[in-house]
């Protein structure tokens, strides 16, 4: 038996099949346009439209062939399975861990809540705080009392009347130590909130009741006359919510629009127990949509809320799916199974090169800033000159172009563009190789070889590997510093970065806006004891400046004080500000009425889903 003869044949076959399979993959990625004669196409359009019209009348799902005209009479045939209904199909990628308003903290969780509920205030398209469930609000003279007046006639989707007690319950639930939510901290300005929130379970009952009573007094639902609502007060009369704050907080009206204040219903939470949020039976809200059904990891379907005060949504339904693999999500989008998918860096060039899809890419400013954090108490970053040198060695433009593939915007400051407090034209500590080298030589170390070893720690993932390799490469090229790359398992990394003692020398971290106010960017992060304390950042002068700004009631003066504070922050280069994220999505041409804001980290237009519509005629084309 000649065994040798079969070998080259075998290898040839295998190689050919692999090439074939991969080529097929490539073809699938850019479907080969089908060439047809013009006449044929025309007849097909006519036939198909008839079918579709019929189908619309009978409201049946049909297989539909859409013919898109392209250059050179080459037609691309897309088949879709749209219904006559206007359903917006969105790939949200990750299924939430919880959809409880007072326990959620992630974008994908909040995306669900934003459809089901509405807070006292909301953000308009320019990120201004505007009335929502509350028709108006007012601060007292000293800025320590905030009174909301609810709209009359507000109802939940099931018809139950919505009154101030519902909001008081939600706010108290957020503070309650029994809830222990991720965002419990955010309402700490409420008088008595930090004390109750931090109370140990072993606290004596009376003491606990006392702590709770203080908060109850601070979050008071009242009738028009100023009398606190009792159990017997009619819901229609209980429309005033008075918040007593421990310090003036002009930004607090904005906070009252966040998901933590969404009025989840006490009786339904009791009925549904701890996992009440998992069921459409108990998720009954006051928002623009109603959760129709929730199938974990498969889909969530929302239909318009007929009781919503701003009117009925134009869409017939919104449907979330949770395909985590972005390559698959992209294929499904091209196969017309999604109307909106996130656009990832890997696919950006392919999309831009495709004549059809080019216009479907929506890339616009996001709400996060990322920086290379330097540990202020770990050598060599104790020396400002070293921090400046490391910052000036980084070419932000190159980073955005080569590493982020264009999905990002270089920055040298903290508050991102589009947010109140953004400083245009910051140039300090930008890329300057010569100045970087000079700064390093002026540091107390004097030269590169005297620098203590530098380790760049990161949460290990394929994407981060390339990112950090790039950073280390730049520092080597520009400064001649050899930085050790130190990948760490993701949760271990989180645990490390949480504690100032174990926080790495250098690592990348970002901050995304909770609400559009400079206080959220500056005071929450950089105040001593804030998030910046993880890298041991503490600046008494800056603290003073931010304290003054936080309590300032005059809008213009306040903005000015924050601008000065941000100036002080950037001055010493505590960290190397690197880039702002962008929101990037693919949106089908038949989706209309999307109002984009930088807050769209879940899907475009999520700020106001009422205006989103689907043009069925375009879908047929």
């Amino acid at each position: 038996m000649n065994r040798f003869s079969r070998l080259p044949v075998m290898l040839g076959v295998v190689a050919a099949l692999f090439v074939g399979a991969i080529a097929l993959g490539a073809c699938g990625a850019t479907p080969t346009p089908e060439v047809r004669t013009v006449e044929k196409v025309v007849t097909q359009i006519v036939e198909k439209e008839k079918v579709v019209e019929k189908a619309v009348q009978q409201t049946v799902v049909v297989q539909q062939t859409v013919v898109v005209e392209k250059e050179k009479v080459v037609d691309k045939v897309i088949t879709a399975t749209p219904t006559s209904e206007k359903v917006l199909r969105i790939n949200l990628a990750t299924y939430p861990d919880t959809i409880d308003p007072q326990k959620s903290s992630f974008v994908n969780e909040i995306a669900h809540l934003k459809l089901i509920y509405e807070g006292l205030t909301r953000l308009d398209k320019d990120l201004n705080t505007v009335p929502a469930a509350a028709e108006k609000w007012a601060f007292s003279q000293d800025g320590k009392t905030l009174t909301f007046t609810l709209r009359k006639g507000l109802k939940y989707s099931d018809g139950t009347v919505l009154d101030a007690r519902r909001f008081a319950f939600a706010i108290k639930r957020n503070i309650n130590p029994a809830t222990a939510g991720e965002y419990a901290q955010i309402t700490d300005e409420v008088m008595g909130a930090p004390e109750w929130r931090g109370a140990d379970a072993k606290t004596p009952k009376e003491a606990m009741a006392k702590l709770e009573a203080t908060v109850t007094d601070s979050v008071a639902a009242m009738d028009a006359s100023g009398k606190v609502c009792s159990k017997d007060t009619k819901a229609e009369d209980c429309l005033t919510l008075k918040l007593t704050l421990s310090k003036p907080a002009p930004y607090f009206a904005t906070i009252m629009g966040l998901w933590v204040t969404y009025p989840a219903r006490e009786e339904l939470i009791t009925q549904g127990k701890e996992t009440w949020w998992n069921s459409s039976k108990f998720q009954i809200g006051n928002g623009p949509f109603v959760l129709k059904n929730l199938e974990p990891y498969v889909r969530a379907r929302f239909v318009p809320n007929t009781n919503y005060w701003r009117g009925l949504a134009k869409l017939n339904a919104i449907e979330f799916s949770y395909i985590t693999d972005s390559a698959i999500g992209f294929q499904a989008y091209k196969n017309n199974e999604f109307d909106i998918v996130p656009l990832v860096a890997e696919d950006l060039k392919t999309v831009q090169a495709d004549a059809n899809m080019k216009d479907q890419a929506n890339v616009y400013a996001g709400s996060c800033t990322f920086a290379v954090m330097f540990h202020q108490q770990k050598e060599p970053f104790t020396d400002p000159k070293v921090r400046q040198a490391f910052s000036m060695a980084l070419d932000r433009e190159g980073w955005v172009r080569d590493v982020l593939q264009g999905l990002g915007a270089p920055t040298l400051t903290w508050i991102p563009p589009g947010f109140p407090g953004y400083k245009k034209g910051e140039t300090r500590w930008g890329f300057d190789a010569a100045a970087a080298k000079k700064a390093l030589s002026e540091s107390k170390y004097g030269s590169v070889d005297k620098l203590p070893p530098v380790k760049l720690t990161f949460s290990d993932s394929p994407r981060n590997r390339t990112r950090y390799t790039w950073l280390a490469g730049k520092w080597k090229d520009v400064l001649g510093v050899t930085v050790t790359l130190d990948p760490v398992e993701p949760t271990t990394y989180t645990a490390l970065t949480k504690n100032v003692a174990t926080a790495p020398q250098a690592y990348i971290l970002g901050w995304c806006a909770d609400y559009p106010d400079p206080q959220n960017w500056l005071s929450v992060y950089w105040h001593t004891g804030g998030f910046g304390s993880r890298i041991a950042y503490s600046n008494a002068d800056l603290d003073k400046a931010m304290d003054a700004a936080d309590v300032e009631l005059d809008t213009a003066k306040r903005a000015d004080l924050y601008a000065k504070a941000q100036d002080m922050l950037v001055a010493e280069a505590p960290v190397a500000f690197m880039w702002n994220n962008v929101n990037s999505y693919l949106v089908k041409p038949w989706v209309t009425g999307i109002v984009k804001t930088s807050n769209d980290s879940d899907f475009p237009g999520s700020g106001d889903p009422l205006t989103i519509d689907i043009d069925l005629s375009k879908m047929k084309k």
Binding site: R3, V14, E182, G198, T275, V298, I323, E337
Partner: protein
């Protein structure tokens, strides 16, 4: 036989105990805890974290409590106590939910096969059936027609099955059947019919199928040259009878050996398949629980797998006796 089975079942208790002990020790050795989420997001603040630890008993000593009166008032013995009462503890990732509910209870009062485990069990069984009905016949034919086109084809399929990771195979399948031929949808919004299960099951079963093919072929080749096969043939037995009765039966030992653990592996789901198809199985719990230090879920999934493996291997050992009566499992 009954005595043997009873003894084996009793042996499962120490096996489970050891697995519990090892897993418990390992997971608490891993740095970080259930409240350490994505570093980019806002973290549970230190005070709240303490409160949560107290509430879930995570501030108790791991094994022995020397400070209080009761030395067994510890996390480990607390878990064991729950385990005896079939209580797998609270999940930390999905707060408020119990592990046994997350795994075995379907949402909204649906029957248990609509639970996460139910989904994974069904997909795993389909995958197993797929790998058996394609793998074993292909292996037999490849052995009988050694060095022919069929043999090469089986080698190619097997090579493809093991050298190309399943996430790539999944993409090929999707591009061919969904994008190219429009036979199925990529995004499956409804799993109630059989059709959407076919591709995920095939992808899940592909590597097992490849392995089965080669194993069957190799086993058959071993048996084919044995004297008793020649004897059987010379006795004038019908060829099909020779193949089915003598050759196949005798070559089944390695096939059965791998089918046991393969079954346990397939029905406990696949992280990758679930990420790709948005499949509501338990595979992601195996990975996410560990990544997120969801302690009770780590224990729950590990013990589920341990029990399945133990039962599968027991079944394998019993089957040995049927295939080859000379094997005495005692």
């Amino acid at each position: 036989m009954t005595k043997y089975i009873v003894r084996r079942l009793l042996w499962m208790i120490p096996v489970i105990l050891v697995v519990t002990l090892i897993t418990f020790t390992l997971m608490h050795m891993a740095p970080g805890g259930p409240w350490d989420r994505d570093p980019g997001a806002r973290q549970v603040d230190a005070r709240t974290q303490q409160l949560l630890n107290t509430r879930f008993g995570l501030d108790k000593p791991l094994f022995f409590n020397f400070s209080d009166g009761n030395p067994l008032d510890s996390q480990f013995f607390g878990y064991l106590w729950g385990l005896v009462h079939l209580d797998l503890g609270p999940s930390y990732r999905i707060r408020g939910a119990d592990v046994q509910d997350l795994l075995f209870k379907a949402p909204e009062d649906k029957p248990w096969w609509e639970s996460k485990f139910g989904y994974s069990l069904r997909l795993g069984l389909y995958a197993l059936v797929f790998s058996i009905i394609i793998g074993i016949p292909l292996g037999i034919v490849a052995a009988l027609k050694q060095n022919t086109v069929v043999d090469y084809l089986s080698l190619f399929v097997a090579t493809f099955g093991v050298s190309v990771p399943s996430f790539v195979i999944a993409l090929f399948f999707i591009i061919i059947f969904a994008v190219g031929l429009h036979m199925v949808d990529i995004v499956i919004r409804d799993w109630s019919s059989f059709k959407p299960w076919i591709i995920p099951a095939a992808i899940l079963g592909f590597p097992t199928m490849a392995f089965l093919t080669r194993l069957t072929r190799s086993s058959m080749l071993d048996i084919m040259t044995q004297d008793y096969i020649r004897t059987a043939r010379s006795k004038g037995l019908h060829e099909r009878r020779v193949v089915m009765l003598h050759m196949l039966k005798n070559s089944l030992i390695p096939v059965i050996t791998i089918l046991g653990p393969a079954l346990a592996g397939l029905v406990t789901g696949s992280f990758i398949i679930e990420q790709i198809f948005g499949f509501p199985g338990i595979g992601r719990e195996f990975v996410l629980s560990i990544q997120r230090r969801d302690y009770s879920m780590i224990m729950g999934t590990t013990l589920l797998y341990a029990v399945l493996v133990a039962f599968a291997n027991l079944a394998v050992d019993i089957l040995y006796g049927f295939v080859d009566p000379r094997i005495k499992v005692e």
